[in-house]
Amino acid sequence: MKFGVVLFPGSNCDKDAEYAVNFLGQSCEMLWHKEKNFKGIDCIILPGGFSYGDYLRAGAIARFAPIMERVVEFAQKGGLVMGICNGFQILTEVGLLPGVLIRNKNLRFVCDIVPIRVENTEVPYTYNLKKGDILKLPIAHGEGNYYIDNKGLEELKKNNQIVFSYLDNPNGSVENIAGIVNIKGNVLGMMPHPERGVEKVLGSEDGMKILKSVINWWGEKNGKL
């Protein structure tokens, strides 16, 4: 399976994503934000970091990067797109995911390893997981406070779009939301960092379960297992 990691000016988890993908034996291509096209990619990762310094609003400027037009098209055709941390913020700004991520409730950046619960196993990203599974994953963000209005929240619930929730809300997110998908389930946005949780010596290996889910789901679908 081939992953593509988009490199925006200010991205800083691009290498971590590449490392995790390679660690799991898959290939990875770095995609420069000024490119207008890409080919042969099975899953796009929008990595963490501070694209364009997170000035104005996190993700607000990155969504206009030339490559984003193709990412949106790719997603609309059902392609797998994972936005992690800053990537999640970009996905909401560009409108592929509903809601928005605002400043953490206490206005402080928070770095920690926290437990999250799997709420939805109908999507590629949780293919190997069970509902209620607890994953311990690194978080590191200043604007991870997920907000959506009541109507939007009802929609999310109705369509089973909430994929991960915090056990102990670190940032003030509505309904403890840590990660959501679009209605079709092919676009995932999450604040925790699965790409940092791939080895025990780093403090967590639960991130692997998410990345392996994607790989297994894809392999099965394409008869490549």
Binding site: P9, G10, K15, F50, G53, F109, C111, G142, R196, L202
Partner: protein, 575 residues
């Protein structure tokens, strides 16, 4: 006339003796631009005039030292062709004025020192001192400093793997903010801050130059109360996003064969970086200030030369490489201007608007400052305080324990380090909360352990042995984590050196540090000196912060602090 001359060299921060030396070196009177350039480069911060002789006590050589003091950062040999580049720096005074920006730009500065050597920064640490937290102002300083360090380092994506913080009333007027950065480089790709090769091109890259932090020269003693917008030196504001772009662009140029030398612009801006690079290459430089990309209109030559705008680097490039270098910076949306060339004149010659505005012998401005040798006097308090403190016999140990763990100097530091991203990079093996911080070297089983320490009470009570003890603490921390200590960097934070008692303490503690480094075989590869940390009512304790670096061959064998399981035995080792 004589009077106004005295006024002008004093305004530039120079003494009579120093002014006479300038006259002798130039064989004429300096013009205002030249005088202010001398003023900043001959300041304590840039010239080390009070400490140069003392720093000679430090052992700076060893089998593992690839680069000792004198470059932008020191380098240790990590084996397998890996250079470990590291340095610590203070940003005390700026942080006292504006804690957020002061701390942020402190991080920015030390990170540039590391990547100017061609190394990719992989870890940050910080050492902080504030007055007691029961004062509102100190809480404000702590909050701002921690946020400043966090926001800058987090944005760059460099994990902050450790640090330390102490609170004591001696820091009420002078908080300390020391930041350390460590990076990795292939040994054959180490870059130096050198300008040589006649005709090579000098390029200024990164942020545009504005009137930031112009403090030297005539502004230094302008009355700050006076609300004159244009005269006020403006605080430097950091732009971590710009720095991230600069970092990535510089990393792309590490392999470029046309790059001759690189240095970041720090204190005293273009003046110090240009002069120092030229001095290392025993060269002259011709600078054309019209080519500098500026942020503001109508800047004078002096303002351009003294600006401390952040996120800038100076490159010396062979002419045939200029286009390629520009291309790399353009890819990262950065400006790169050709502002001059290397000459054999032995002078820094500054042209602006078609006129020669200044011409200074390189050697004179970089190495010509008359060194000071102040008086020493052993402070009386030392004998007094060395007496035994009686220990109360009847105490309730439960209460004592509770008091201790609630003490601001002992309680958990999680409030601080949870604001720093300590995991980015996927290499953090030991993180804040452990004895030392550690990052692994990707592609090997090795990890580098690092720690910053200084309990200022020791050097305060007994400067010589106290200095030794500070080094020993770092050493013990590294050994406890499983690392073999290799070398140190240090940040000497002291009060006014012109006071004989302060100077005595400074000298003695440096000797103590030097002795410990000698005995432990952990040479000094660089550091930073911050004097004059003294206010109206308080002066800081001697605070020589030690940043020590060690290596472990197999990071799976690192030892963490936590008790691992029930029933395991606990030993107390030592005397």
């Amino acid at each position: 006339m004589a009077n106004s001359r005295e006024e002008s060299y004093k305004l530039a921060g120079l003494t009579e003796e120093e002014y006479q030396k300038i006259l002798a070196d130039l064989k004429r009177e300096p013009n205002p631009l030249e005088l202010s350039m001398y003023g900043v480069l001959w300041s304590e911060h840039c010239s080390y005039k009070h400490t140069k002789k003392l720093l000679k006590y430090f052992p700076t050589e060893g089998e593992k030292v690839l680069q000792g003091p004198g470059e932008n950062a020191g380098v240790l040999d990590g084996g397998d062709d890996i250079g470990i580049v590291f340095k610590i720096e203070s940003h005390n005074h700026p942080s006292a004025v504006e804690p957020y920006q002061g701390a942020a730009t402190g991080v920015g500065g030390i990170v540039r020192d590391i990547f100017s050597m061609g190394a990719r920064p992989v870890a940050l640490l910080n050492s902080l001192r504030f007055g007691s937290l029961n004062k509102q102002r100190n809480r404000y300083l702590l909050t701002g400093v921690v946020k400043g360090i966090g926001d800058y380092g987090n944005c760059l994506g460099i994990p902050d793997v450790g640090g330390e913080v102490y609170f004591h009333s001696c820091y009420d007027e002078n908080p300390l903010v020391n930041a350390m950065c460590l990076g990795l480089v292939s040994v054959d790709k180490i870059k130096k801050g050198i300008a040589q090769g006649i005709g090579n091109v000098v390029m200024l890259v990164g942020a545009a130059t504005g009137r930031d932090g112009i403090k030297g020269a005539s502004f230094a003693s302008a009355n700050l109360e006076e609300d004159n917008e244009n005269k006020r030196p403006s605080v430097q504001v950091g732009d971590p996003f710009m720095e991230k772009l600069l970092l990535e662009a510089c990393m792309e140029l590490v392999d470029n064969p046309y790059v001759v030398g690189v240095q970041d612009l720090g204190a005293a801006g273009l003046t110090s970086s240009a002069c120092e690079m030229a001095a290392r290459g025993k060269s002259g430089l011709e600078l054309n200030l019209d080519k500098v990309h500026v942020r503001e209109e109508n800047m004078s030559a002096m303002e351009i030369m003294l600006s401390e705008s952040q996120e800038r680097m100076l490159y010396v490039v062979k002419p045939q490489g200029v286009e390629e270098v520009k291309k790399v910076f353009a890819k990262w949306d950065l400006q790169a201007s050709e502002i001059g060339k290397v000459t054999d004149s032995g002078k820094i010659e500054i042209y602006y608007k078609g006129k020669l505005e200044g011409s200074i012998p390189t050697e004179s401005i970089v190495d010509g400052v008359p060194l000071r040798d102040p008086l020493r006097k052993k402070p009386a308090y030392i004998e007094e305080k060395a007496k035994d403190i009686p220990i109360k016999e009847k105490v309730n140990y439960n209460d004592v324990l509770k008091t201790l763990i609630a003490d601001e100097n002992i309680c958990s530091r999680k409030w601080i380090y949870s604001q720093y991203d300590y995991m980015v990079g996927n290499n953090t093996i030991l993180r804040p909360g452990d004895t030392v911080g550690a990052v692994r070297i990707q592609g090997t089983t090795k990890a580098i352990g690092m720690t910053v320490d200084c309990n200022p009470l020791y050097p305060y009570l007994e400067p010589y042995h106290g200095g030794m003890m500070v080094v020993l603490e770092s050493y013990r921390n590294l050994v406890a984590g499983g690392f073999k200590p290799l070398g140190i960097t240090n940040c000497l934070n002291y009060p006014n050196p012109e006071d004989p008692e302060n100077y005595y303490v400074l000298e003695q503690s440096i000797k103590g540090i030097a002795k410990a480094c000698q005995e432990l075989n952990t040479p000094v590869t660089g550091g930073n000196v911050s004097l004059y940390n003294q206010g109206v009512n308080t002066k800081i304790y001697p605070t020589p912060v030690i940043g020590m670096v060690g290596l472990i061959e197999d990071y799976h064998r690192c030892v963490t602090t936590a008790f691992k399981g029930e029933g395991e035995l606990v030993y107390l080792v030592g005397e």
